[in-house]
């Protein structure tokens, strides 16, 4: 498959992060015009990026308005919005301060809300418009010490279904992808307490039925499909992408 997104205009929040970069790169290869919205031009990974950069703090409504105004001015429409910006806070509820809670919800939930809200007028001008949100398998089950993160992803799941119902009649599709273990800076941070991803590699692979964890490119494959016209009847769904990790019961060491 190639040129799946020919002629489409896309905006990706967190577009210079681990997964966001892979999505932008894929979208460009598929023929889309891509706006990468992120806090800094470099994001959480170094390296050149060909997408058009928009400085964007997802917690800021002014930034959301300005980003959409820039897309409107340059392209006049938007076909694809990917809400990939997100953070993780490794704390239990008791350890989580109100500031922590507000920060993670501001980015993961409010950020998705604001970008979607202000993108809607442009998406109505698009063709088979598609919003792809970032949920998580942690919106269904829990990882220890990630309480606010799990809750924020559950909120994204519910928001995804709600927006799909409200805006389906306008021809706008809304889906969420729910990744499991994907090799990103966020995952490496999660492993920090018990080692690092290299030394844990064998054990982590072993727990996955596919015997590996995911890559940003794996995520981009699914986001690309959901953004494309191939997925024109797909809406309101939560797409778990985890190498079958959560299809299984916890495996005890017998």
């Amino acid at each position: 498959m190639s040129n799946m997104l020919s002629g489409k205009i896309a905006l990706v929040t967190g577009g210079r992060g681990g997964i966001g970069r892979a999505i932008c790169a894929r979208f460009l290869r598929e023929g889309a015009t891509v706006f990468a919205a992120d806090l800094t031009e470099e994001g959480t990974l170094s390296g050149e990026a060909e997408s058009r950069f928009i400085k964007y703090d997802v917690t800021s409504e002014d930034d959301a308005r300005a980003a959409m105004a820039k897309v409107a001015e340059e392209c006049g429409k938007l076909d694809i919005l990917v809400n990939a910006a997100g953070i993780e806070i490794e704390k239990t509820v008791e350890q989580t301060s109100l500031a922590d809670w507000n920060r993670i919800f501001a980015i993961n939930v409010t950020g998705t809300f604001l970008a979607s809200k202000h993108a809607l007028p442009l998406l109505r001008q698009g063709q088979n418009a598609s919003i792809v949100n970032f949920g998580s398998y942690d919106g269904f089950i829990a990882d220890p010490g990630l309480a606010a993160y799990c809750a924020s992803k559950g909120a994204v799941h519910a928001l995804t279904r709600a927006m799909a119902c409200d805006h389906g009649p306008e021809g706008i599709r809304v889906n969420a992808i729910c990744p499991g273990y994907i090799d990103t800076p966020m995952l490496r941070s999660f492993f920090r307490d018990v080692g690092d991803i290299e030394t844990l590699d064998t054990a982590v692979r072993g727990v996955h039925p596919l015997r590996r964890y995911g890559t940003p490119e794996d995520v981009a494959n699914l986001v690309n499909w959901l953004a494309s016209d191939e997925a024109r009847y797909a809406s309101g769904q939560l797409w778990v992408l985890d190498g079958a990790l959560t299809a299984q019961v916890q495996q005890m060491r017998i």
């Binding site: 220890p144 019961v249 060491r253 017998i254």
Partner: protein, 249 residues
């Protein structure tokens, strides 16, 4: 004497026996059954019938015998089940017939046999499913699928046979029975294996037959009269957590 009477299939040992014992404490009269002879330690107040729920005639006999002994039978607990540790490509026709026969067809047979009278008298059915019918245990393919059948049948019976019949399922997790103890005994380091298993439970222990029996007793009580068509997980938190726990590597 209470007017309530129950059939619990497979109540000779394990979870089923826990359910039988618990229902007795609720002053409920119980008939249970199994493919073998009456267990010697089964309380004398419990009726026993040697029967195979996978056979239509046996299922009808179980219901008829319970009604002959007790009159109206308003509680059915479909607990009888067998498991097999095989992947699909290793599973024979005989394996399929055994597992699906008891776990799936047996549950169907018993429900079909009791529904005409239970729709008239009112009553509650509780099916024993499994967390394995939601998420998979490896090398237990047909068992996992048979339990998903039980979950789905539970919903269908609830919506087709209300308002007088309620039907729910309990999905047990890792319950300590003779079968589980055998698995630990086979481990290279039984103590470490058990410690690892316990660490994966938010409750800090494995399940007991009484834990499942408590939920069954509640589901058949009048406290649950608005509860139907649902499957309830009782697993000490096992499936609420990710299967990948770096802290346990």
């Amino acid at each position: 004497m209470s007017t309530r009477a129950a059939i619990v299939t497979g109540g000779g040992r394990g979870i089923g026996r826990g359910i039988v014992d618990r229902l007795l404490t609720e002053k409920i009269r119980v008939l249970t059954c199994g493919r073998g002879a009456r267990p010697s330690d089964l309380p004398s107040t419990v009726e026993w019938l040697q029967a195979d729920v996978s056979k239509t005639d046996d299922a009808e006999s179980i219901v008829a015998e319970a009604q002959r002994k007790f009159g109206d039978v308003t509680i059915l607990v479909n607990n009888a089940g067998v498991q097999i540790e095989k992947t699909v490509d290793k599973t024979t026709d005989a394996d399929w017939d055994l597992i699906m026969g008891i776990n799936a067809r047996g549950t169907f047979n018993m429900c079909r046999a009791i529904l005409p009278s239970m729709e008239r008298t009112g009553g509650a059915i509780v099916n024993i499913g499994s967390i394995s019918g939601v998420v998979s245990d490896p090398s237990m393919a047909i068992y996992n699928a048979s339990k998903a059948f039980v979950h789905s049948l539970t919903r269908s019976i609830a919506i087709d046979h209300g308002p007088n019949v309620r039907c729910n399922a309990v999905r047990p997790g890792w319950i300590v029975t003779a079968m589980a103890e055998d698995a630990f005994a086979l481990a290279k380091n039984p103590a470490a294996a058990k410690a690892d298993a316990i660490a994966r439970h938010a409750t800090g222990r494995l399940g007991r037959p009484a834990d499942i029996a408590n939920m069954v007793a509640w589901l058949v009580s009048d406290q649950a009269e608005f509860v139907t068509g649902q499957c309830f997980t009782c697993d000490g938190g096992l499936t609420a957590a990710s299967p990948l726990q770096p802290g346990l590597f």
